[in-house]
């Protein structure tokens, strides 16, 4: 399993990385943790002529929480997300999700930026970011811009990121209330058969706000605005949860693969989402 030939570059700053990517264009790929890209290169599904490794760009490795906002640098690894108590206090759903990604060795290397920017529908972070209403900062030759996670994903491996842009950081509001990331998978290290991210806040007995997003049930993550709104309008009674789940199921489009037929995935997705809603409500 040998990859194609490439030239290796290691820029030391964001401007240097952006300039390099602009110069090399389509022949170059940015590498973060490499745990999606290297396997893809071994299969020769990707054969970049240049790899731009971001490991030396120190400003991309950070977690900060201030003024109700969390900012995470793209090169922050899943192991670092899990280890951060500050982040856990501000958004516990991030640790819960990160612990369900791959295995320990992969989590030491895999980064949040790679996970969200790759556009793989199997990745767990994209749905989480939609659930958290995160904004992605993209740096390119024309400067910086921000794209919301709910508008970022266009199709499998196609995102709003331009080929000459680098995703540099992720911002989202701190969480209050209940949370859950529930994932059905065949074994540790596998992508989800179905997974759901849910955030709920409670006011008395009623649901004040809700946010639901799903993983690996379409060619992009699926943000379920209508289902979320139904929980706010109708509460968390059995009938309301049932109809919110039905609404979310109306948005998914799973395909047959070795994780099972589409019908089975629909069945699993409904159970996983109901579990996630109940868990988030119990924690709210």
């Amino acid at each position: 399993m040998i990859t194609g030939n490439f030239e290796y570059h290691q820029p030391g700053s964001i401007p240097e990385a952006v300039a390099l990517l602009s110069k090399l264009g389509d022949d170059a790929r940015v590498i973060a943790g490499g745990h999606s890209l290297i396997p893809t290169m071994k299969l020769r599904l990707a054969m970049p002529e240049h790899l731009i490794d971001l490991q030396a760009v120190k400003e991309l490795k950070k977690i900060s929480v201030s003024g109700g906002e969390i900012c995470i640098g793209a090169m922050t690894t899943q192991a670092e997300l899990i280890a951060s108590d500050e982040l856990h206090k501000a958004a516990p759903i991030v640790r819960e999700t990160s612990l369900q990604i791959a295995d320990p060795q992969v989590r030491y290397m895999g980064t949040i930026g790679g996970n969200v920017a790759n556009g793989d529908p199997g990745n767990d972070m994209p749905a989480l970011m939609q659930c958290l209403n995160a904004n992605f900062t993209l740096s390119g030759p024309d400067g910086e811009r921000t794209v919301n996670a709910r508008e970022f994903y266009e199709a499998a491996y196609f995102t709003a990121r331009d080929d000459l842009e680098i995703l540099t950081e992720i911002r989202f509001p701190t969480c209050t209330g209940g949370y859950a990331y529930e994932k059905q998978k065949r074994k540790i290290g596998d992508y989800a058969t179905a997974a759901a991210a849910v955030l709920l806040t409670k006011s008395g007995d009623s649901c004040e706000s809700a946010s639901i997003a799903l993983t690996n049930l379409a060619d992009t993550p699926v943000y379920c605005e209508e289902a979320s709104q139904q929980l706010v309008s109708n509460g968390l009674g059995d009938d309301s949860v049932k109809s919110a789940v039905a609404s979310a199921m109306g948005q998914i489009d799973p395909v047959d693969d070795n994780r099972g037929p589409a019908e089975f995935k629909r069945h699993a997705a409904a159970i996983i989402l109901r579990k996630a809603i109940q868990q988030a409500w119990a924690r709210a």
């Binding site: 990859t3 030939n5 290796y8 490499g34 490794d53 490991q55 192991a79 295995d103 320990p104 060795q105």
Partner: protein, 162 residues
């Protein structure tokens, strides 16, 4: 593609290798540096047989280009113990029959070493979760988990060793 010079610290020794950018860390360790403890099992990031420690992280050396490891500290099974003085994990794997064919063992022990560094007092569940990236096709894991738990016990209470 021209070769690049790669400086590494492997098991406490500074070494230099020359590799094309596409050569994986496991290839450089095994073929150039003749460090053959880390094994190539699946070469697809699944099995963990190639696990080494890099700057305090357990990593699968089949999924890192050697050039990415420039300047880093690498520890392999060879750096943990030797035949005359086994590491406590090696001792316990021997004692508790934590291996059968032995192919996964270097990766398993290297991973368990980092796990105990970070969590010296693990529960059985912690151990199972912590070695989930290492596959063993012989043992069914029971004795591997027993061996790691015994090593933790020995490290924490050297006096009460069984």
């Amino acid at each position: 593609m021209s070769k690049q010079k790669i400086n590494l610290n492997v098991n406490g020794q500074s070494v230099t290798a020359e590799a094309e950018p596409r050569e994986l860390l496991i290839h450089v360790l095994r073929e150039q540096l003749e460090i053959t403890g880390p094994h190539i099992g699946c070469e697809t990031t699944h099995c963990g047989a190639c696990t080494v420690e890099m700057d305090g992280m357990s990593v699968k050396s089949c999924t890192i280009f050697a050039v990415q490891a420039q300047g880093k500290e690498i520890t392999t099974i060879e750096g943990l113990g030797d035949p005359d003085k086994l590491h406590v994990l090696q001792e316990k794997f021997k004692e508790h029959h934590g291996l059968q064919c032995g192919f996964c063992t270097p990766g398993m022990i290297t991973r368990a070493h980092r796990l105990l560094e970070e969590n010296p007092n693990p529960t059985e569940e912690d151990v199972r979760f912590g070695i989930a990236g290492n596959l063993c096709r012989c043992t069914g894991y029971q004795n591997i988990v027993k061996s790691v738990m015994a090593a933790a016990e020995e490290i924490n209470n050297p006096e009460s060793a069984t």
